[in-house]
Amino acid sequence: MEGRLANAWRLTANDKSFIRTALLSEIRIDGRKPYEYRKIVVKFGREDGSSEVQLGQTRVMGIVTAQLVQPYRDRPKEGILSIFTEVSPMADPSFEPGHPGELAVELGRIIDRGLRYFCYLLKDLIEAEVCQLYSSNPLSFLFPRMYRAYSVESKAVDTESLCVLAGKFVWAIRIDLHILDNGGNLVDAANIAALAALLTFRRPECSLGGEDGQEVIVHPPEIREPLPLIVHHLPIAITFGFFSNDSILVIDPTHNEEAVMGGRMTTTVNANGDICAIQKAGGEGVPQRVIMQCLQLATAKAAGITKQIKEALYDILWYHLLRETTLETGELKCTTQKEL
């Protein structure tokens, strides 16, 4: 028992009170302002669909793979999207090896929700907030607006395009997230890793053949260029930390801040201002106006992060373009290089 205690990471009483006192003067221990994000570095691996994201000290790797499977009975024309999270004690001594703890499961659920479901329009929610002030039921602001949002917005990853043969074969996309280092705010980093991996992933092209058109032929990548996934928008998860004194709010908490903060909330928004998901699991309560403030801050941040992901993709897309032209004719490859 003593050996295990020796490995745990501990925060001193001095640090706990210092982090709180410094936040009263809007200073964070790594020198950031309360609403500032750490530096994000997005790197890609050699294979399609692998990415590694560094958010300060936090590192997450995302791998996307696909397989042809039978679809679910109630959704015969849609592909399947599943997310698996792996945490190892190398990332943080508090993680247990083997079975994933609460943290890993919650992380997977938040990212899954952002990618899978429809999103609400932020401006609808602001209107609803005004209505709610005049109504007695606190939940009444949610219901009238939900139905309008469904018909207008779309999911992040288009699962209908993954259908090959309705009822028989669809693509099952599997996203594996490996947590390499926990420096705080795993959800945001894992989300960016999942998005980056999805954007660079290429699935093999397949066509229907055989006598009755019921056989699926999967073309190898050397014969036919693999296809990208259809991603309509990028849902970016932004995590907020709440501290009890004077309801102080910080974005992107580090490991130390997470140990001290009273509550956390993750909002998944995209650059268009749509809200994809909100997760607040336990922790201290926050007033409604703070949640609205968080949503507006998150929308502002999401635009910046989306731009960073797209810029990181730019180099990889050049590589894909080179690869495509090489396949068609060897000569085209030379001209593209000259242009570069």
Binding site: L11, R28, G31
Partner: protein, 240 residues
């Protein structure tokens, strides 16, 4: 032929060595007593390296290998910063970033008797001295110096503690003063306690001074002296 001080050409002192390197050949040095520190082993007539690091020599005859790690191996007479984990009848259990927890006897304080045992809460930061550190046993600590006086040991109040590698803590404690501490000291006033186990505690009047000092020290690990001074100037310009 003139013999070099190391006794084996070329001299490996102050250069990086890896396990397996032979640094001294005893057959060429007769009637000398050599003292070997950590990281070196004697194989008949050859002294070979066991741990990767930098070979150091101090007059008249001490050799050792210095390396920097995140984990700390307790050594006697080291001053360390420990966090209280638990308190038992006879000892406090302290975490000093070593392989096992260390014991601090409840009487190891200046004027300590059974009647005035201090009460430390879990999470208190203490500045301590290592008294016993044998392999396989829990190290023993003390809050007094060798003669029994308090001498700055004991709990540290307020401030902020952060973790570094053992190499950086040694650099911070070396004399002449480390360039980053000198550059910071010229402009800011702060108090600092460095533990050889890779923990540093900083205290100052305002939170932003503490944050600047902590970040400057954390960034200075891989920089040379001149680079450290430039880095500190840059940081100070940004906040003023």
């Amino acid at each position: 032929m003139e013999k070099k001080q190391s006794g084996s050409p070329p001299s490996l002192i102050d250069s990086t060595v890896v396990p397996g390197d032979v640094v001294l050949d005893l057959s060429s040095m007769t009637n000398q007593t050599i003292m070997l520190g950590g990281g070196l082993r004697q194989d008949c007539d050859a002294i070979s390296v066991m741990k990767a690091g930098t070979l150091r020599f101090s007059k008249p005859n001490k050799y050792w290998v210095e390396s920097s790690q995140k984990r700390y191996t307790p050594c006697v007479e080291d001053t360390v910063l420990g966090i209280v984990v638990d308190s038992k009848a006879d000892n406090f259990l302290i975490d000093i970033k070593g392989p096992v927890l260390a014991f601090l006897p409840v009487l190891a304080f200046e004027g300590g008797t059974r009647r005035n045992i201090p009460k430390f809460e879990v999470g208190t930061l203490l500045y301590l001295r290592v008294v016993k550190a044998n392999f396989g046993m829990n190290p023993e600590l003390s809050c007094t110096d060798a003669s029994g006086k308090a001498a700055e040991f004991g709990p540290l109040k307020d401030g902020y503690m952060f973790e570094t590698s053992t190499g950086l803590s040694r650099k911070l404690l070396s004399s002449p003063t480390c360039p980053v501490l000198e550059a910071l000291g010229k402009k800011l006033s702060f108090e600092i306690a460095v533990g050889l186990n890779g923990r540093v505690w900083v205290n100052a009047a305002t939170p932003d001074t503490i944050v600047v000092v902590a970040n400057a020290i954390m960034n200075s690990e891989s920089l040379s002296g001149a680079q450290q001074i430039i880095m500190v100037e840059h940081l100070l310009k940004n906040i003023q």
